[in-house]
């Protein structure tokens, strides 16, 4: 163990304090201003009220945006879970020609700038599919999100499968279980926490994605991040955004909690 002197402890403590202040004061301001009765965010807040909460509760655009975000997020997550898991199995279990290339192609979308992905999809949808008479619309946005969500599932599941004892599956088959039973009773339980964690990450990634969404959202369709971006640009509705942001802060604690539970369950195993 590294032993620190009294003075270095104090200095480090101050630095930690400053960092935490910079991280959390802006968030605190968001929460505070969600209860601000004025039109724009301010500090100090002169008058508290639930006015913007009432507006938010009945706002049709917000409801539509939340619904869109959830649909797109779930759609992209489902695609990512299926394709990410399948590719993780292929790459961890089999040797084949071009394996490294496939690996790179799966991981690449997360490294590509969102702008590039967005332009690429937009071009494909508008200049190729559209003239060919294929209206990909909403589904196109889901597919675009799925491209970078796959990596989240793939990375998690792949890492787990590589650590898994291959004898377990052989033992299961040896004891009379078929391929389906072996997957359900032995293989899947071995990587289900990684599977769930990958799914959570994929959903989170899709839920607050802005750049690719701008390029691929059909006209008139807003996801929550797009709605926030548009509303921020409008005058006098700043605190409505703060209400939505506060709800999102609370909601995002759920996956954090779940993932911590999952990793703790992991350590127990």
């Amino acid at each position: 163990m590294l032993r620190l002197g009294r003075s270095s402890k104090i200095v480090l403590g101050v630095i930690v304090g400053i960092v935490l202040v910079f991280m959390y004061v802006p968030l605190a301001l968001v929460v505070l201003n969600a209860f601000n009765s004025s039109r724009i965010a301010s500090f100090p807040v002169t008058e508290f009220s639930l006015r913007w909460w009432e507006v938010a509760a009945v706002s049709e655009p917000i409801r539509a945006a939340v619904l869109n975000s959830v649909i797109v997020g779930l759609g992209a997550t489902v695609i990512a879970l299926i394709l990410g898991t399948l590719s993780a199995f292929a790459l961890s279990r089999f040797r084949f020609y071009g394996k490294q290339t496939v690996n790179l192609l799966i991981v690449l979308p997360i490294a590509l700038p969102g702008v590039v992905t967005g332009v690429a999809f937009s071009n494909t949808f508008n200049s190729i599919l559209e003239p060919a008479g294929i209206q990909i619309g909403y589904f196109g946005m889901i597919v675009a999100h799925a491209t970078f969500c796959i990596v989240m599932v793939f990375n998690n599941v792949f890492a787990r499968l590589r650590r898994m004892n291959p004898n377990l599956q052989e033992a299961s088959m040896d004891l009379g279980a078929g391929i389906g039973q072996t997957f359900r009773l032995v293989t899947f339980p071995q990587f289900r926490t990684a599977f769930a964690a990958g799914g959570l990450l994929a959903f989170a990634l899709s839920f607050d994605e802005v750049v690719v969404t701008i390029f691929t959202a059909p006209p008139g369709v807003d996801t929550l991040p797009l709605w926030i971006l548009n509303t921020m640009a409008r005058p006098n509705e700043g605190n409505l955004v703060n209400v939505v942001a506060t709800v999102l802060i609370l909601l995002s604690l759920i996956p954090v909690y779940i993932s911590q539970r999952l990793s703790r369950a992991e350590e127990d195993e």
Binding site: L168, E170, A171, S172, V186
Partner: protein, 358 residues
């Protein structure tokens, strides 16, 4: 060849009388890419036999076991179980079960669930599962750990659970892949005895893979000695130890003094190379009288090694040949060795105590 003792003595009156089967390999070859792991192997394991496949790592013994289990396809040849060709059968369609080297217990299931697994996937009735799991855990004396997870068990306990999990299905043949390899020496010796007892109780064929020659000698009815994908010799422990058919078998099982053909002819009038075990080699003073049925050679002790129960003498003889002699320390404990390093001695053995290695 003397017949192997295949009749299982039923020790406990309520011991389950399991059906057993023999295993036969006919011309089995296994290739992995360009490497040949097993070549043209013919092997017959009798029903109820404790059969060991002994050899160094990479000799093909584990591959053979995995082919019997159905984890590896054979490249050519066929595998018969109880006279039935199972070459193409999937692992779950074979009446054999395996105890893995690392036990391969399912880490997310309790011990009871692990043992119950094979019955569960066969859709056995719940109360029957409970009854048989209970019996099975009792057989390995681990009823008290039923609700624990595998990682909470010691190595020896895990080993016994792996055994119980495989035996609960009443396989006709049990395959064991170096099951004692991960245990320390004392526990291993204890488990050897237990394994032998369990085999006698259930009376089924055990096919046992090991690289430990002592283990193979201790446990087996018969041993197949593997080297580079071939079987060098099959026989009872006594046969392979006392009458090694090849130089490899002579040197892999225990310590052996191998005397090359030319020298053997000159020294003992033998028709080929001979092998003589250190415990059969005696030491005597150079001027002692030589009996007519002895093979004798003079040399200098270059090293003495005290190993507790015995002392080993390494003697360099006049022909540049090194002979190892082992002498039981059956004299008084405070008595030091009668021969010392640098002494010139006569080493000799009874002519019939040397085995001709063809």
């Amino acid at each position: 060849m003397p017949g192997t003792d295949t009749t299982a003595e039923t020790t406990a009156p309520d011991a389950p009388s399991h059906e057993t089967a023999g295993v036969e390999l006919r011309g089995v070859t296994k290739r992995f890419g360009d490497t040949v792991a097993v070549r043209e192997l013919d092997l017959t394991v009798a029903p109820g036999e404790f059969f060991s496949m002994l050899g160094p790592s990479g000799s093909g013994k584990t591959t053979v076991l995995r082919m019997i289990a159905g984890f590896e396809d054979v490249t050519s040849g066929s595998i018969l179980l109880d006279g039935q060709d199972v070459t193409a059968a999937a692992p779950f369609d074979r009446t054999v079960n395996t105890v893995f080297q690392d036990y391969a217990l399912f880490p997310h299931m309790t011990i009871a669930e692990n043992v119950a697994y094979g019955l569960k996937v066969r859709k056995t009735a719940k109360d029957e599962i409970a009854r048989r799991v209970g019996e099975s855990l009792e057989q390995v004396r681990l009823s008290h750990v039923a609700d624990r997870l595998p990682h909470q068990l010691s190595g020896g306990q895990r080993q016994r659970i792996a055994l119980a999990r495989a035996l609960i299905l009443r396989p006709r043949v049990l395959l064991l892949d170096e099951p004692l390899g991960a245990l320390d020496k004392q526990l291993r010796e204890q488990m050897q005895i237990e394994l032998k007892q369990i085999q006698r109780e259930v009376g089924i064929t055990f096919v046992f893979v090991t690289h430990d020659q002592e283990e193979a000698l201790t446990l087996s009815d018969r041993i197949a000695v593997f080297n580079e994908g071939r079987v060098e010799q099959v026989g009872t422990p006594r046969e392979v130890y006392e009458y090694p058919q090849t130089a490899f078998v002579a040197s892999f099982l225990g310590v052996s003094n191998l005397i090359p053909a030319e020298l053997a002819r000159e020294l003992a009038g033998a028709d080929g190379a001979i092998s003589v075990r250190p415990e059969r080699v005696r030491l005597a003073a150079v001027d002692s009288t030589r009996a007519p049925d002895e093979t004798s050679v003079v040399g200098t002790i270059t090293e003495t090694v005290y190993t507790g129960p015995a002392t080993r003498y390494i003697v360099t003889t006049e022909f540049g040949l090194t002979i190892i002699a082992e002498r039981h320390n059956d004299h008084a404990p405070n008595d030091t060795a009668p021969y010392r390093r640098g002494d010139t001695v006569r080493v000799y053995w009874h002519r019939e105590h040397a085995a001709l290695v063809p």
